[in-house]
Symmetry: C3
Subunit: 341 residues, 3 copies
């Protein structure tokens, strides 16, 4: 994809602080994939598996490790981590939006709310009682900020985000459309055969630099707050129940569910559609693979799995039927071994 | 968390109909956790496991069972079910919102819609053709009520809820942001290599006192209605397909999926991310544990499971590989036993 | 359910091009189920299992295969595929909405956007910079169309749909409430212990006749586009990550998750809550059953499974415990066989 602001390879190398090989005067106006980029675009080679694609690359310049650049005849930017360098370069071509201060005429702002003069409130957005929007923040079209919320400096609520009540966002938090933060936690008690609601009186606290994906939900705490420490990254359609605590720099892929009062450490990676039960702890630097179920605390860093990969359906059916007999089968094997002794 | 309306322990005991021990004059203005509550707050002890925390509790009063109160020197409210009593007390400090009747100037109401004078229509809400909003109902900011819908007395659509068409809510139904009720069911027929839509002509019927979580979806029926009986409680990000019928008092945790025409009984508990196939029946009082798959009818009350818990990844890989050979393994064991005979 | 436009059985037979048996003058004004339809309604019998229900059917006419009609005394429309014929008939009674051209006074349209004079922009919708809305398209209440999007001819965005940026819809695409297309893909790189965002510069391209369910999310590509070919049908609460490519006529049920850069063939059927890992390929005409996990490419058409069905919890617990020992058990069986030799 092409963007504005053409820049020479030399300028780019200088802004990223990277050594350059080849033609410093190449003009770049965007980025592309190694196979798709044209002469005005920057590409990257991060995975050595794709090195053969370099042969036919038509990119104006390519970010790669010094070791890969041996024998490459094009223009190369050398980086220890080419993917990070690419990310930084791409951000130069396509910078994040900056607030255009002001409140759109169609937005509805409660008289008791405080909107900084440097904040942008988009069309058809709604800011509720006692909420505060800091300088540099963007509240996009159709967002609803409810009661007693705080949106920190340079946050971006892209569009149609809802903060229900008592949600406090640090600085530079980005929230994608459809996400709902601060809805009532799912707290119920059974009385005489009928459910009664347990009032959810806590809030949601989101640290600096967090990102929340589209249609993800984060409920507010029952008594204390649901907490995301800084730099937590959540993909789309994730459910974070009340009173969950997520440590800094933890990332979760789409469709993960975390039940109430779970406490997840720092630098964890939770792959797609994994499920984490309530009232347990996961220590720092734990990796959970896709669709796995964590039903007890994990106290050792490492990689954990439980989901079964597909096999041809008939084969699966036979094995699954045997699974129902697995305990009995094991008992028979053990009994035979005893017979033998 | 602290709230308005301070109240004495004696008044609280009277309003809840509970015996009091200790100082009847303690002034309470909110609730807190057993470890976090201060002198002006009410806490509760429901799980005997946490009894040791009573020692250091600074709460103004604590709700607990009479048996736990032996030797407790603070102020105690005695309840058979302390969690229920706590829920009732918390609701006194933080009552549910009451409708402020009127239609916000930014809302758009179709001329053929009927909004009771006692209902509240929030900012930027939209009420469509022939829909009816009853007294005491709150339609929050950004909600869209489509065609031929009914919102019953004292319902609360918190914010950005969508009722698409032919959705009828009983009394006191609460729906959290982003929920979509009454979208077209997923009805397709293949004709000459191309999908055609099967018109979805039914509606959605939701009984009194139901609660629907954030970003949950409930499709309308193909011919007849999708039905939730009274007091059904759904958490966030749940999918209820067309023609599903859910019995009274059943609760589902986040991320559950229920396929078309499934019929679920009363007083069932479906834990997080469980999946229920279509065209089957689950009887009353069935518990399904987290991430389990129900692919056939269940006719006996009880607890059912199928999801596997995580183990260290290497260990998992070995066992999963063996699972592919499980049928063959079982055959070998059986063959050996026959040899022996 | 009953609708307008009564029509005789003869007229209906003619419009659908089907043979008629029985009374050509029966007046029909809607459709119903075989057990529920009344004398003015059309029902259908597709599954021979339900043939016994014909006995008591009170429907004005029934669509069925010629073979089933033997001995049926009512009015029958004969079709090779009664479900398809029913779908066509139902669409006559309840036609899809047609655009009422015009821009609602409460909608906000950016001056650089282009709205065709034959398009309908509903209340409280928002059309952003440089986006184009074609003739016959309906943008329902509360929708947000962001930057550089294209909505093709006769598309329907039912309500509260969000197209974030660079989303291009072909003709006749239907999108249900809460769906979010074109949000940032989840692209992260770790630098010095902190995540940095990898700018997501691609778009989303959706072919003709696709349908996208409520609260489904489709992220835009990192460099190139995320692509749905024509006639792809997605149910509710599905996550499609960046750079995914879905072949024509593929259908996915609710709660499916597809990770980044997966490439799925044509005419595939992915059942509810299945998970598909990233960077793999699935060939044409693959069926994945509910809750299964695809973690490697599939190169043969066929049916694939991995999810385990529920069993009574105690039984499950014993078998699951044995599963942890499965590799050891298999080794013992093999060792015993070697002993014997």
């Amino acid at each position: 994809m092409d963007h504005q602001n053409p820049i020479t390879a030399a300028e780019l190398a200088e802004r990223l602080g990277l050594p350059l090989r080849g033609d410093p005067g190449v003009r770049l106006h965007g980025v592309g994939s190694l196979t798709g980029a044209g002469p005005g675009q920057l590409a990257f080679l991060a995975n050595p598996r794709y090195r053969a694609q370099l042969e036919d690359a038509r990119a104006g310049a390519v970010v790669m490790r010094a070791a890969e650049a041996e024998g490459f005849r094009g223009t190369a930017l050398l980086a220890d981590d080419p993917y990070v360098a690419y990310a930084r370069a791409a951000a130069l071509f396509a910078p994040r939006p900056v607030a255009s201060p002001g409140i759109h005429v169609s937005a509805v702002v409660d008289p008791s709310a405080t909107v900084d003069a440097g904040a942008q409130i988009g069309p058809l957005a709604c800011i509720g009682p006692r909420s505060r929007i800091a300088a540099g923040a963007i509240v996009g079209p159709g967002c609803v900020v409810g009661e007693d919320c705080e949106v920190g400096r340079d946050c971006e609520l892209v569009a149609r985000v809802t903060l229900v009540a008592r949600v406090r966002l640090g600085a530079r938090v980005r929230i994608h459309p459809g996400a709902v933060l601060g809805a009532d936690g799912f707290g119920l008690a059974m009385e005489a055969g009928h459910w009664i609601n347990v009032p959810q009186l806590g809030g949601v606290r989101v640290g600096d630099d967090c990102e929340i994906g589209a249609n993800t939900t984060i409920d507010r705490g029952a008594i204390e707050d649901t907490v995301l420490e800084e730099d937590v990254r959540l993909d789309n359609l994730i459910q974070i129940a009340h009173n969950v605590h997520i440590g800094a720099h933890t990332a979760m892929a789409g469709c993960v569910g975390v039940a109430g009062s779970a406490r997840i450490g720092r630098y964890c990676m939770i792959a797609g559609a994994a499920g984490i039960a309530g009232h347990l702890e996961i220590c720092d630097r734990v990796v959970i693979t896709a669709m796995s179920m964590v039903s007890q605390s994990i106290r050792e860093p490492g990689e954990y799995s439980s989901a079964m990969p597909v096999m041809e359906r008939r084969e699966w059916r036979r094995n699954a039927a045997r699974f129902r007999q697995l305990d009995a089968l094991a008992r028979r094997v053990i009994a035979r071994e005893k017979d033998k002794e």
